[in-house]
């Protein structure tokens, strides 16, 4: 070891060595190489280093407890939302689809119950995304990686597939045995039937996804008759594959190696966020019940039964502390609580706690209930911002107009001299009707001199008038080419406006100012 110490120089020593080597001779360097070589010879060939490692299969044990039941509930609710939502019907009248939630990409509409979003209202979606972002801050700062542990699709589907494993191959020990068993008829048939169920679930998952983008019953019918769009089949195929592969085989590898979320969340956790913690000051030193009975003062509460490891869906040991593989699903809490109860010890050796609480507790303070960590300035501020954005969005949604007019004057040619010397300008009007029914709207000229008239590509010049009534189809933007003529004597006007009025009970109005170009103008 003495020689090795000489070789493994400390930084300052290394610096000096280099300096000396430069200024004196090369001999010390040569000598050092020789020493290193002899050292290697003495130690024999260097041990084989493995730069890649195979996945260690996780066979998590069945467990029951409050957190497991909560996980069941979340799984049930999220899966139900995912699979059932597209099938909910919602009557919008004859001019709009009757699917409650529909992302109509071709028609560029997003329907969600009573709300219909047009492309120009994408800020609602942006607002929702901002809310999701703030919600992430809020949830993470309060309850840590709760998303990872309960609601993430990867977690939910992994959970589903792990239950399929359990159904076909039995619980943890049976599955480990089967894994090690040679491939025979029994194992092969079990594996094949299990994978078939995987595939079925995956297919159903992929199939449910496309229902959000088209009328679900129609699409289902077309899908099975081979009449659906290619993109539908491709989407189902891709999502079936990803679900099968990521949920059935990759599982915790996704969380540990692929997903950016754990890293982002790790950056957002602080000493006041709830995490799943092994209370080492209470648990250590680990020892069996017998040993602890002999020398109670030497051992802690942890009996090293490894139940927390056995139930973990990502296969980690929570007792090693906070780590990226921990999705905070809290199944280890259920497992440990059960063991503690059986031993007659206090529950909560593994528990939700903040790092701050841990520090206090290890210093001797009594355990604080976990919920106390939720109320603190940071979470309240996040809540406030989140709620404010939500309220603003709701307000905007409630007060938005369902009628809109945009005007773009023709720039080439800017004006047109007519036979009688009057001046004509052409405009492209866009009349937007956001109601799911056809509406009559009036377009009127405001601010033009007497004699100015308006006609359109559909209303002939003979019917020209200062105001025209137009039909705008349901849920559409009607593009109208409009011609405005101002008599010769008064054609020096430069600004005026089109006024759109919906001729129904709503009487919505939109006035759009524009220019009138004429020969005398700029």
């Amino acid at each position: 070891m003495g020689t090795a110490d000489a070789i493994t120089a400390t930084p300052e020593k290394g610096g000096r060595d280099w300096g000396e080597a430069l200024h004196t001779t090369v001999a010390p360097g040569l000598e050092r190489d020789a020493v290193a070589a002899s050292q290697r010879k003495a130690a024999g060939p260097p041990p084989k280093i493995k730069l890649y490692e195979p996945r260690k299969a996780v066979h998590n044990k069945r467990i029951d407890g409050p957190f497991r039941r909560f996980k069941w509930l979340v799984m049930l609710v999220t899966l139900a939302i995912y699979y059932v939502t597209p099938w909910i019907r919602w009557d919008r009248g004859p001019y709009a689809p009757d699917q409650a939630v529909l992302i109509d990409l071709a028609g560029r509409r997003f329907y969600m119950f009573d709300i219909e979003i047009w492309p120009h209202e994408f800020y609602f979606v942006a607002g929702l995304l901002i809310m999701a972002g703030i919600g992430l801050f809020l949830v993470t700062s309060a309850v840590g990686r709760a998303w990872c542990g309960y609601a993430c699709p990867q977690t939910v589907w992994t959970d589903v597939f792990q239950h399929v494993d359990r159904f076909f191959d039995g619980d943890r020990n049976a599955r480990i045995r089967l894994d090690k068993a040679p491939w025979g008829v029994a194992k092969t048939s079990r594996r094949l039937s299990k994978w078939a169920v995987y595939l079925l679930i995956s297919f159903w998952t992929g199939g449910a996804w496309i229902m959000y983008f088209a009328d679900a019953p129609t699409l289902t019918y077309e899908f099975w008759r081979g009449e659906a769009a290619m993109v539908a089949y491709a989407t189902v195929a891709i999502l079936t594959f990803t679900t099968f592969w990521l949920g059935g085989f990759m599982r915790e590898q996704v969380c540990i190696y692929m997903c950016p979320w754990p890293r982002i969340q790790a950056a957002m956790l602080d000493e006041k966020s709830l995490i799943v913690t092994y209370k080492d000051w209470r648990g250590e030193k680990r020892g069996s019940v017998k040993k602890a009975a002999k020398e109670p003062e030497k051992y802690g509460d942890c009996v090293d039964c490894l139940q927390c490891v056995a139930v973990c869906p990502t296969g980690i040991d929570i007792r090693e502390g906070q780590q990226v593989g921990c999705i905070t699903c809290a199944l280890c809490i259920d497992a440990c609580d059960k063991v503690m109860k059986d031993l007659g010890r206090e529950r909560g050796l593994i528990d939700y706690a903040t790092l701050e609480q841990c520090e206090a507790e290890s210093a001797g303070a009594p355990a604080t209930p976990a919920w106390k960590a939720l109320l603190r300035p940071r979470t309240i501020v996040y809540c406030g911002i989140w709620g404010a954005i939500g309220a603003a969005l709701l307000f905007a949604l409630g007060t938005r107009a369902h009628t809109d007019l945009t005007v773009s004057p023709d720039r080439n040619p800017p004006f047109m001299l007519m036979k009688d010397g009057s001046v004509r300008n052409s405009y492209t009007l866009r009349l937007r009707n956001m109601e799911s029914r056809p509406r009559e709207m009036e377009v009127a000229l405001v601010g033009l001199p007497e004699g100015a008239v308006l006609w359109t590509d559909q209303i002939g010049r003979d019917d020209a008038a200062p105001a025209q009534t137009l039909q705008v189809p349901a849920d559409e933007t009607r593009v109208v080419r409009a011609y405005v003529v101002v008599p010769a004597a008064s054609s020096n006007v430069e600004r005026f406006a089109f006024q759109l009025t919906s001729l129904d009970a709503q009487g919505e109005q939109d006035t759009e100012e524009t220019t009138f170009a004429n020969p005398g103008g700029q």
Binding site: A43, I49, L51, Y52, D410, P413, M418, K419, R461, R481
Partner: protein, 313 residues
């Protein structure tokens, strides 16, 4: 002791075995599937190189066994688009041009098709906004003044046969004689004044009126309203093909310019011509079909004009 050489004590991770001035690398093994993913990308790349154009050579790239090319892709898309619009074209061809308005959707498609063809074939002279160029005598197609008629049928006829175009025997044909050397400068001035007086631009004179009556009224009509049958422009409105100044009008009397437009029957299919007509008609100056009526012109004018007035047959 020798094991300690390979394990980093604080982290419990083994060393890879390199060492630089006391700094050693810890070994955190990659998952093996990561390596497989890498191999899969290599296999994918090999497959891609075989199937698709890949290696750039001197004049072109390797072609790939699938024979795919972006040009071929474009050709396919173009023919698909052509196929997709074939039905619409057929319907436009089968519908009388004056009946297109009965089917607003079809009319809109015709206008859109015409707009696109206009950009390709017409903008060179008439301009992108169809406003023409006064200095060159390319007429404005947006206004309500038409030399040869502004109804759908008239426009379609003009598009098919052209104006003063050698390619069609039925082309729109009209010539105004040059009066250079016939009128004195003062006479031309008087005549120009009379012409301008129709639209209130100048005072008329007896001499001017007299000269007009004798030399111009046969085609341009006594009060300058023009005659579309002969392609004689109206002189009593605010629109002037070659300019509205006295100098412009003098020049047009002395040495008239005669614009020409090629007929498109040899370059474009009838449907495209029809769509162009509909588009031009939709620019805001289009007129309704004229109800045929007997032209109320005097006998000698009729006799004089039969020579040239073969435009609207």
């Amino acid at each position: 002791m020798s094991d300690k050489l390979h394990i980093d004590e604080p982290t419990g991770t083994e060393f890879v075995g390199h060492e630089w001035d006391g700094i050693q690398e810890l070994n955190t093994p990659l998952p093996r599937w990561w390596l497989w993913t890498f191999y899969a990308t290599v296999v994918w790349a090999i497959g891609y190189v075989v199937l698709y154009p890949a290696w750039p050579l001197v004049s072109q790239a390797t072609e790939g066994t699938l024979g795919w090319s972006s040009r071929g892709d474009l050709a396919q898309e173009m023919s698909a688009a052509e196929e997709a619009r074939a039905a619409t074209f057929e319907r436009i061809a089968a519908t009388d041009i004056t009946d297109l308005a009965d089917d607003p959707a079809l009319l809109n498609q015709a206008i859109a098709g015409g707009a696109s063809a206009f950009k390709q074939h017409c903008v060179q002279c008439h301009g992108a906004g169809a406003a023409g160029y006064e200095e060159y005598g390319y007429p404005n197609l947006n206004d309500d003044d038409w030399l040869w008629g502004g109804s759908l049928n008239d426009i379609e006829y003009t598009l098919t046969h052209g104006i003063r175009w050698e390619g069609s025997r039925e082309t729109r044909l009209a010539f105004m004689p040059a009066f250079e050397g016939i009128f004195s400068s003062a006479e031309v001035d008087a005549l120009a004044g009379h012409v301008l007086s129709f639209s209130g631009g100048s005072q008329s004179s007896t001499r001017g009126a007299e000269l007009y009556e004798l030399n111009c009224a046969a085609c341009h009509q006594p009060s300058g309203e023009g005659d579309r049958m002969q392609g004689a422009p109206a002189l009593n409105d605010a629109i002037w093909l070659y300019g509205d100044s006295r100098a412009n009008i003098r020049q047009q009397i002395l040495a008239p310019r005669h614009g020409a437009m090629p007929g498109w029957s040899d370059k474009l299919d009838p449907v495209t011509i029809r769509m162009l007509a509909v588009y031009v008609h939709s620019r805001g100056g289009g007129e309704a079909e004229a109800i045929p009526e007997e032209p109320q012109i005097s006998d000698e004018v009729a006799a004089a004009s039969t020579e040239e007035g073969n435009g609207n047959s």
